[in-house]
Symmetry: C2
Subunit: 214 residues, 2 copies
DNA sequence: GATTCGAGTTGACAGCGGTTAACATTTCGA
DNA sequence: TCGAAATGTTAACCGCTGTCAACTCGAATC
């Protein structure tokens, strides 16, 4: 259930009604599973449910969701930084690990990973008090040609895409420059490191960056 | 269920019928829970069950049990050696961790902990192929007065006792000498480090040692 | 505005893992 | 040896989390 909560938070359940289908999709479960979980969580005061509309976190649910997100992202950072997992490998294991981690284990993973502020994908890690600093970033597809930027988050789940992006050097902290764009949601050409690569629009949209003023 | 399997192995289920009560006691669950699990595991070919007698591991069950024991003990070693847990704190967390750990995570914890051969309590860790080297040790209560020995395993579960023993320096690898024994299962006096302590018979019986020839 | 289709909900089922209560068996002592 | 006590088993229940099927609701289209 911690995972449901975390996923709901990630989907923006703090500010809007998240429909069961979307939630289920993100969790990799059937729609009825998500719908019924909404019921359970409503009974526990974690979400408010508007029938046929979706679920939205209550303030209690937000707190718990942040805990879950923190546990998950710290687990991911820990697996990658301490145990040497690749960023494409850590996700599932981090799910299971985040679910069984109590306060103590979370604290220790945090320390062992060097108190990271971002998970390996660049998502910010809530602090122990539930504080969360949202990066001032935007999708790569917002940038104009010529713009320089730094990769902030790589909001991709798919293994193969993650491997590909890592090979290209498109990881958080990487500097890049938009070298070209095709119109009508066409592919984006990006200089990164001393190479260049072409990203389909859908993929480029999942890469969030912080503009560099220069 | 991995935990049931591991516990059954630990209780000697390889060589004897382990009665439900003993199993349940070790798992901290009710007797019916253990009994029913025996049924499930029998259906899966993991144990042979003799009604009202107990359950014994099949060769398949032995393999799986060893996997569970390996995962658990490596998790314990990992928590203590890498994350800085105290040996009295690691057990519960290691249970949960061992349960969710797949091959990959076990491998990585093994490497991160420095390929330990014993868990923090001194219990041997099966290797990845299911090989297990049993130490040639015996309960402290077997020794005669004056005998020197090295602590091999501390087969104690209780938190407070573990803390006490650690304070006394009675941990695996520690050298000791039996300084005195009272008759009729009376307490045992032990020199360890440059101190001395007195252990009740029941506690002393849980401390397994390897004789030193000198 | 009626209809239809997509999406959400609810119900029935399954399996795990826990409980207590009722029943069966084994064992031990009078 | 027989009966009581201790121990093991089974049944019934609960809650979680998953499924599929059937139903219901809302929205979009004609």
């Amino acid at each position: 259930m911690a995972n449901y909560l975390g996923e709901l938070f990630r989907l923006g359940g703090e500010k809007r009604d998240v429909p069961a289908g979307e939630w289920a999709e993100a969790m990799g479960v059937s729609i009825p599973a998500a719908s019924r979980m909404a019921g359970r969580m409503a009974r526990m005061g974690l979400v408010e449910r508007r029938a046929y509309r979706g679920a939205r976190l209550t303030s209690l649910g937000r707190r718990e969701g942040l805990r879950a997100v923190r546990a998950h992202r710290l687990a991911e950072a820990f697996l990658v930084r301490v145990l040497g997992y690749g960023w494409h490998e850590a996700h599932e294991t981090a799910d299971r690990l985040g679910e069984i981690a109590d306060e103590e284990l979370v604290r220790r993973m945090d320390a062992a990973a060097g108190h990271p502020t971002r998970c390996p994908h660049g998502e910010p890690i809530p602090d122990a008090d539930g504080g969360l600093i949202l990066p001032a970033d935007q999708p790569l597809t917002n940038l104009e040609v010529g713009q320089r930027a730094v990769v902030s988050r790589v909001r991709v789940r798919d293994r193969d895409r993650l491997i590909y992006l890592a090979e290209m050097g498109l990881v958080p902290e990487a500097s890049l420059r938009v070298a070209g764009r095709a119109p009508f949601n066409g592919p984006v050409r990006v200089e990164v490191g001393r190479g260049e690569c072409v990203l389909g629009f859908d993929l480029a949209q999942l890469i969030w960056v912080e503009r560099l003023s220069s």
